[in-house]
Amino acid sequence: MKLVNRFVDKHGTGHVTLRPEDDEDMWHLYNLIQEGDSIRAPAIRRVQKISSTGSVDSQRVRLNLTIKVTRVDFASSAAPSTAAPDDAADGSSSNQANATTALHISGPVTVENQHVRLGAFHTLDIEVQRDVRIEKFEGWDSVALARVNEAIVPGKGAEVAAVVCGEGTAAFCLLSQHMTLVTHRLSLPVPRKGSASGATQHEKGLNRFYATLFESFLRHVPYSNVGLKAIVIASPGWVRDSVYDYMVAEASRRGDKVLQKALKDKVVKVHISSPHVHSLVEVLKSPEIVSQLKETKFAREGIVLDKFFKMLGTDEMRAWYGPDHVVLAADRGAIGTLLISDDLFRASDPVTRKKYVGLVEAVQQKGGEVVIFSSMHESGQQLLLLTGIAALLTFPLDVEVVEAEEKEEAERIRLAKEGEPDGG
């Protein structure tokens, strides 16, 4: 994403103009734009004019509209557009070619112009390479500004492609800093071995599976893209080896030099325990990948989440989850690492958002680390299942003891309040 301009004063009022460039930027915008914000973006609107004779003339007009947001929709379709691998060859443009996500923002128009009346509803389709101006209704808080800073770091797009496969199933995923896109799923029936069907049916089925997987690979994995750091082939058992061997053989049979080179340089084979997409978390934990992608956000998320689960096993009193408990821990200054899903910041209720922003700021002030998980990643999804917020504490605290303390405290305050009117 490009930052076109930014006018934000120290109190947080002001506006930011951004130019989205790829799918991931749409995700950033989705996380930035909240109900109540003012958005200015180019739009195409059908305008009807009734002439003096009464005939109706309808025209499509391209204009800039400013709306007050009432709804934000984000759709990432698994079905890919027609992007061919050839397009992927020319670097950055590939990202536009296979944009599969869409962002729609609706609301009433707040700035009138000659075509559109004040208060008329419009739905803005946010497009790549079209500037979007965002003015925050509640002002820009630290989390929102951090998001902008993160979003404008140049040079992104899909960094890792992963093929998660089992016998007869495969899922193609593209991982970028903030998103995991499942671009394609494949499922072919492979007869299992058995005396009745014989071994040949099993082998035939497997070969058909490899062939289909190869074709899908060509279509869905931008393997020639220079930005793509690694292609992960992950599976339980030995499927990944067979898949890789088949692809290498097929690439050399077809004389596809680009693919051969990509397979040789970029493929990493990783063992996982189940052929489901959620096993991507295991991929990101595996030493082969960690050493390559230590710097990336998704690897970091995976590591932190794993740490949390391990802590839960070894020292339950230092791994807390759930909004109420985590807030209690923060009050006691106990949080070493805060794990929070960006989903919580998208709360339509500004009070809720403020609560979480406050929590993040409080933890940062005390020197704690905050990891904001992207809910478009598998690790973020798993965190969401655990209420979306969790914390690793610096010292052990017993939940029950803390809750009892809180209760006592509340009781004391209540008594004090009751006592006041009596005294006065």
Partner: protein, 468 residues
């Protein structure tokens, strides 16, 4: 030839009674495990399950001399002569190349009193999903233990597969087990070694829920064929010095087939789909309850389709009907193959299995490192199907013995505890597909589930209520 349903039941009852006097049918899963690294190239990593079954099939005349000779010749050519017996069950080229069983092989043979279907399960950690699929089709288990020094210990200690396999089999409803202590020839038929292993296994079997009456131990040497059908000859001399007990076949004859529920509605979880002879699709699976006859229309769940049973094959013979407990191959017509998937359940259209996205279950948690918390990601195993799911709610922890609620809404579930939880399937792709499940109280075999996480079985349980 087709009967009205009640007539059919009568007929089945009659023939089962007749069978009771003759050969009783039952299915047996061969399990056992080893501790191995993820990558193994060659060598004997297995307890010898496939070898034992190959040898047994040969001894009982189910494998002809020609096949045996061919396997021996080819395996020697590949430099793996010691695998020659296993090759009769490990049919795919990859299995042969790697020298391990990867998927369940199904064979059948008959002893004097029993008609036995054998499911040779893989022992390798990677293929536990296949082992689950096999064990859920069995009544009894044959546990093969590698007696050679060090091997037994590594298979039995934490992380070893022997324990996990036993617990899994028990959780899937297998109540009788024969423990075959194999490869005793490698420790010079030492009686002490045999007894040492038995002594270590006995408390564990009881602890896992196998009744001592329903467990038996036997020393064997599978490769040499000692004490399988008979205990005689040169190779058996050392064993005969201290062992006068029954042979493996004698023990198989004593296995009791469990009671079958033939009056309940039919349920067949599909474990394999392939092209049969002629047109149409063949599916194999075990009839968990009820009866199915040729010409019957069956509903395929999940989905809205039905199929007509054209032929039924049991033990390589065409039969007019099949009753609960049999592993059968059904040839289906008037159905498209895309409607069927491994894990689908066939049932009568009038009495379908409920489909579940969310359900409550009572689970028993195994020896796990990381406790289960609400929202934990797991894989749910039900017969041949595995789906991603999450433990969405921890309802209560229960007392292991009495089943009484100890604590409502617990924060975590620690190891070796029992609990009632709510499980929700996770979406795969755009929509979540429900799976057919039935409460345990209604149909025992359809209500058993296993829960795994990151390649480790963390809990076994039974379905209490399907919430939709």
């Amino acid at each position: 030839m087709s009967f009205a349903h009640d007539k059919l039941l009568e007929e089945v009852q009659k023939s089962l009674e007749a069978q009771g006097k003759g050969k009783q049918a039952l299915s047996l899963v061969v399990i056992g495990g080893i501790l191995v690294e993820t990558h193994i190239s060659l060598g004997h990593v297995d307890a010898g399950k496939s070898t034992l079954m190959g040898r047994l099939l040969y001894e009982l005349g189910r494998m002809d001399e020609r096949t045996r000779a061919a396997n021996e010749r080819n395996s020697t050519k590949a430099g793996k002569s010691s695998f020659s017996w296993a090759w009769s069950l490990d049919g795919t080229s990859e299995e042969r190349e790697r020298g391990i069983t990867m998927d369940v092989a199904l064979e059948s043979f008959s002893t004097t009193k029993r008609q036995i279907t054998v499911l040779d399960a893989p022992g390798h950690k990677e293929f536990i999903p296949n082992m689950i699929s096999g064990a859920s089709r069995a009544d009894c288990a044959l546990l093969v233990i590698d007696a050679s020094t060090g091997e037994f210990e590594s298979g039995f200690e934490r992380g070893g597969q022997t324990r996990e396999h036993l617990v899994l089999a028990r959780s899937l409803g297998v109540a009788q087990v024969i423990v075959a202590i194999n490869k005793l020839d490698q420790v010079q038929w030492g009686k002490n070694r045999y007894e040492e292993i038995c002594a270590l296994l006995r408390p564990f079997l009881t602890q896992s829920g196998f009744h001592p009456v329903k467990t038996s131990f036997i020393p064997i040497g599978a490769m040499l064929g000692v004490n399988l059908v008979a205990c005689e000859g040169e190779d058996a001399k050392q064993l005969l010095e201290w062992y006068q007990g029954p042979t493996l076949v004698d023990l198989l004859d004593k296995l009791e087939p469990p009671a079958r529920d033939i009056t309940a509605p039919a349920r067949i979880p599909v474990s394999n789909i392939f092209k049969g002879q002629g047109s149409g699709i063949s599916v194999s699976g075990r009839l968990l309850s009820g009866v199915v006859q040729v010409g019957e229309r069956l509903r395929i769940l999940p989905g809205d389709e039905t199929a007509v049973v054209k032929t039924i094959e049991v033990e390589e013979e065409n039969v007019p009907w099949v009753a609960a407990g049999s592993n059968a191959i059904l040839a289906l017509v008037s159905v498209d193959s895309v409607q069927l998937a491994i894990g689908s359940v066939l049932c009568p259209p009038t009495n379908p299995v409920p489909l579940a996205l969310t359900f409550t279950a009572r689970i028993l948690i195994f020896d796990i490192q990381v406790p289960i918390i609400a929202g934990a990601m797991v894989e749910l195993f039900h017969h041949s199907r595995d789906v991603p799911a999450s433990v969405s709610k921890l309802i209560a922890t229960l007392d292991r013995a009495s089943g009484k609620v100890v604590k409502s809404n617990p924060r975590v579930l620690a190891k070796a505890s029992s609990a009632e939880v709510q499980i929700t399937l996770r979406s795969t792709g755009s929509s979540t597909r429900p799976i057919p499940l039935e409460p345990y109280a209604k149909n025992k075999a359809m209500g058993r589930i296993l829960i795994r996480r990151e390649g480790e079985t963390i809990a076994a349980g039974i379905v209490m209520e399907v919430l939709g």
